[in-house]
Amino acid sequence: MRHLLSTGDLSRDEATLILDTATELAQVGDRSVKKLPTLRGRTVVNLFYEDSTRTRTSFELAAKRLSADVINFSAKGSSVSKGESLKDTALTLQAMGADGVVIRHSASGAPHRLAGWVDGSVLNAGDGTHEHPTQALLDAFTMRSRLGRLEGLRVAVVGDILHSRVARSNVLLLTTLGAQVTLVAPPTLLPVSVYTWPCEVSYDLDEVLPKADVVMMLRVQAERMRDSFFPSVREYSRNYGLDGERLGRMPADAIVMHPGPMVRGMEISAEVADSPRCTVTEQVANGVSLRMAVLYLLLGGS
C-alpha cells in the first residue's frame, strides 16, 4: 500500500491488517505517555480544503502519537486562497519533503490527482461525494470491537446515500470484510445505479430495523429539501429518522452509529444519540487509533 485513496483498493487481508494494527495501537491511548517513536523524523501534512476540525484533529493527534512532524495546511489564509492550483500546492509540499499528505477536498478525486504529483503517500480524508476511507475503517473497527466480528454482520446505512462519501467507502469496505449492507433512503437520495452495488436497498426503515446488527445514520442536510430531494424535514424525520421507538424495534444488542456531526431532531433523536447503544464518541476515539494504524502502515515501512 502506497496511498489510501479508496476502500475499494483494499484487499480483505490489507483491511484486516489495518484493523489489527489499530487494535494494537489503541493500547497506546490507554498509557500515561501516549506516544510511540515510530514516525520520528517523518513529516505529515494535513492539507484541508474543507473545514473539518474533527477529522483534522484526529489525523493530527494520530501522527503526533507516532512522533511525526505535523504541518497543518488549511486552504483559508494560505496561498490556496490566492488562487494557487492544487498541482502547485502539491509541488510545494513535495519540495518541503512531505512523507505523507492527508487531504480533505470538496472535489471528488482530488486525492487521486494529488497522488500523481507527489512522491509521498496520499491519504484521502474525504473527497467530495466520493469516499472517506478512514471513516469506513474506523466504523468497521468500532463494529468489530463492539460486536466481535464483521463476517455476516447485517449493517443498515440510512440517509443521504447519494451525497455520502461515508456510505460509498462503507459499502465497499464492509462488503470486502464479509458484512451484508442494506442502504435505506428515499429513492431521491440513492444513486440511479445503486442496484449494481454489492448491497441491498430498501425504502422502508421500519422493515430493515428488526434485522440489523448495526444501524448507521448519516447526516441529512436541510438544504437537500430546497432541492426537492424530500418534501419537508418533518416528513424525512418521520420516515427515516431514528427515534426511541424505532430503537426499541432493533435487536437487543444492535448498535447505532453516526459519523458525525449529527443533526439531532433530523435523522436522529436526542434520546437515541445519548443512548449507550449509540457509538458516536467511541467512533471518535477509535478514529485516532485507526488513523495511527494507517499512517504507520503507509509511512512506517521505509
Binding site: 475499494g8 492544487l86 498541482k87 472535489a107 478525486g109 487521486h112 467530495g128 440511479v192 449494481t196
Partner: protein, 433 residues
C-alpha cells in the same frame, strides 16, 4: 500562408479507396484523372502508391477560440491543425469572447481564416445574443455578411427555451440556414460532471443523464417538423438519441446529426482516473452507447462525423476534475479514429467515410466548393491518407496550440500524408507547410 507551386501530379493514389490512378491539378482545379498521365515541364510529382485519396474533409464543429482565448488556439493555429487532419474547411463555433453574435465578429473570424490560408474557415453565428438564451442575435446580418453564415448555434449552451428555439428554426428558413443545437436540458444537468451511471455513482461525480440530451432532441425534432425547418443535432452521444433521430427521420423531419470521434471510441470508465483530459460535454458514455453511435453512423441515422475540436491550455486540465474545462482536441486524429472504429470494423467503406466527413457536412453547412467528387473540373481539395502507417498519438506533437488529446498513447492505423486546398499543399510528406 502556404504557397502554390504550380501543377501537381499525384501518382498512383486510390480515390475513395478504389483502384490506383493519377490525378493532375492546376490553378486550384482537377484537370485530369487517369492511368499514367504525362507530366508536363514544371509539374510537381507526388508519389502516392498505396495512399487513399479523398476530397478535403469538412468539419461542422470546431472551436478555434479566437477572439478571446488565443492562449488555447487561434484561427491560424487551428486551421493548421485542421489541415494536418486532412480538413479543407472548418466551421468555427460561436462561443468566443466576444461571442460571434454580430456580423463584425463573424467577418473577423472569416478574414483571419482567409489570411491564414490553411483551410476555409466558415464562422458559425450565435443563435442568441451572448449565448444567453434570451433573444435572437442578428442572424440575418451574419447571413448577409461577407462570411455568409449559414450555421447558427449556441454550442456549449442549449437553446433550452422552446419558443426561442421555434423562432430560430423559423427565422433561418429565409436564407436556407440551419440551427445546430447543443442538446442539453439545463435543469437536469446542473453541476453535471460526467455521464450519469455506474461510474459516476461510484466516483461521486454529479451525473449528466442521457435523458437530458434525448428530451431536447425529441422536442427539437418535433418543433423542426412543425415549422418545416432544418435542424442539426450537435455531438449526439447516447443510444436513445440515435433511436429518436432515426424515428424523426422516418416520419419526415428534416434533421441531420453529428457524432464526434471521441464518442465513437471512448467510454465513461476512463473517468476512473479522474484525469480531466477525459472531461467533455456531452460526456463520454457507455460501451452500449458507443456501439449504437457506430451503427447510427453506419446506417446514416447520424449523417456526419464532426470533431468538436476544443483546445484548452495545460492549466485548464491540470486540476481537480470538477474545476477542469470541458473539451478535447480532435482535428488531427479524426480520420485515424474513424478508420479504426468504422472502417477496420467493416461498418463503413471509404466511399461512405467520404460522405460522412466531406460531402454531407459540406451539404449541411451549405459550403460551396467543398465536399465535391474527385472529378475533372472540381476544386482540387484533396487529402492523401496512408491507411497502413500506424502512429501513436502524442499530445506534444500536435500542430495545434493545445495538446489535450484523449487519444494520447493510442495507436491509430494511418496518417495524413498530404492535404491540398484548391491545389495548394497545406500538408506535404506528412508535415505542415
Amino acid at each position: 500562408m502556404p504557397e502554390n507551386h504550380g501543377p501537381y501530379l499525384i501518382r498512383g493514389a486510390r480515390p475513395l479507396g478504389g483502384d490506383p490512378v493519377d490525378l493532375l491539378f492546376e490553378d486550384g482545379t482537377i484537370t485530369a484523372i487517369g492511368a499514367d498521365l504525362p507530366a508536363a515541364q514544371g509539374t510537381r510529382i507526388v508519389a502516392a502508391d498505396g495512399l487513399i485519396a479523398l476530397p478535403g474533409l469538412v468539419d461542422l464543429h470546431t472551436h478555434l477560440r479566437e477572439p478571446g482565448r488565443e492562449d488555447a488556439e487561434t484561427v491560424a493555429s487551428g486551421s493548421r491543425a485542421a489541415a494536418m487532419g486532412g480538413y479543407t474547411a472548418v466551421h468555427a463555433m460561436a462561443n468566443t469572447d466576444p461571442v460571434a453574435d454580430t456580423a463584425g465578429v463573424v467577418e473577423q473570424v472569416w478574414r483571419l481564416g482567409n489570411e491564414a490560408g490553411y483551410c476555409d474557415v466558415r464562422p458559425v453565428g450565435a443563435v442568441t445574443v451572448g449565448l444567453a438564451g434570451e433573444r435572437l442575435s442578428e442572424i440575418g446580418a451574419m447571413a448577409d455578411s461577407a462570411a455568409k453564415v449559414r450555421v447558427f448555434s449556441d454550442d456549449g449552451v442549449c437553446v433550452s427555451d422552446a419558443l426561442l428555439m421555434r423562432r430560430a428554426l423559423e427565422y433561418v428558413k429565409a436564407f436556407d440556414g440551419v440551427i445546430a443545437q447543443h442538446a442539453q436540458e439545463p435543469r437536469l444537468t446542473e453541476g453535471a460532471q460526467m455521464n450519469e451511471g455506474r461510474v459516476s455513482d461510484r466516483l461521486g461525480l454529479p451525473g449528466w443523464p442521457a435523458v437530458a440530451e434525448e428530451a431536447i432532441i425529441a422536442r427539437d425534432c418535433l418543433l423542426a417538423q412543425h415549422v418545416g425547418s432544418r435542424l442539426h443535432v450537435c455531438h449526439v452521444s447516447t443510444k436513445g438519441s440515435v433511436d429518436i433521430i432515426r424515428w424523426a427521420k422516418e416520419r419526415g423531419c428534416d434533421v441531420t446529426a453529428e457524432v464526434t470521434p471521441h464518442h465513437l471510441i471512448l467510454t465513461d470508465d476512463l473517468v476512473e482516473s479522474y484525469d480531466p483530459v477525459y472531461k467533455v460535454n456531452p460526456p463520454l458514455r457507455t460501451a452500449e452507447d458507443v456501439q449504437a453511435l457506430r451503427e447510427g453512423l453506419a446506417d446514416g441515422t447520424i449523417d456526419i462525423v464532426a470533431t468538436d475540436h476544443a483546445p484548452h491550455p495545460v492549466e485548464a486540465k491540470e486540476t481537480e476534475w470538477s474545476t477542469a474545462a470541458m473539451g478535447m482536441i480532435g482535428l488531427e486524429t479524426a480520420l485515424g479514429v474513424v478508420h479504426k472504429t468504422m472502417v477496420e470494423t467493416g461498418l463503413l467503406t471509404w466511399e461512405q467515410v467520404t460522405d460522412r466527413m466531406s460531402a454531407a457536412p459540406a451539404r449541411i453547412g451549405r459550403v460551396d466548393g467543398h465536399g465535391r467528387d474527385l472529378a475533372v473540373g472540381e476544386p482540387a481539395n484533396i487529402v492523401l491518407y496512408d491507411p497502413a502507417a500506424p502512429v501513436e498519438v502524442d499530445g506534444a506533437a500536435m500542430v495545434g496550440k493545445s495538446g489535450n488529446t484523449p487519444f494520447r498513447g493510442m495507436t491509430l492505423p494511418g496518417r495524413i500524408i498530404a492535404t491540398f486546398l484548391r491545389g495548394v499543399p497545406t500538408v506535404l510528406e506528412g508535415k505542415i507547410k
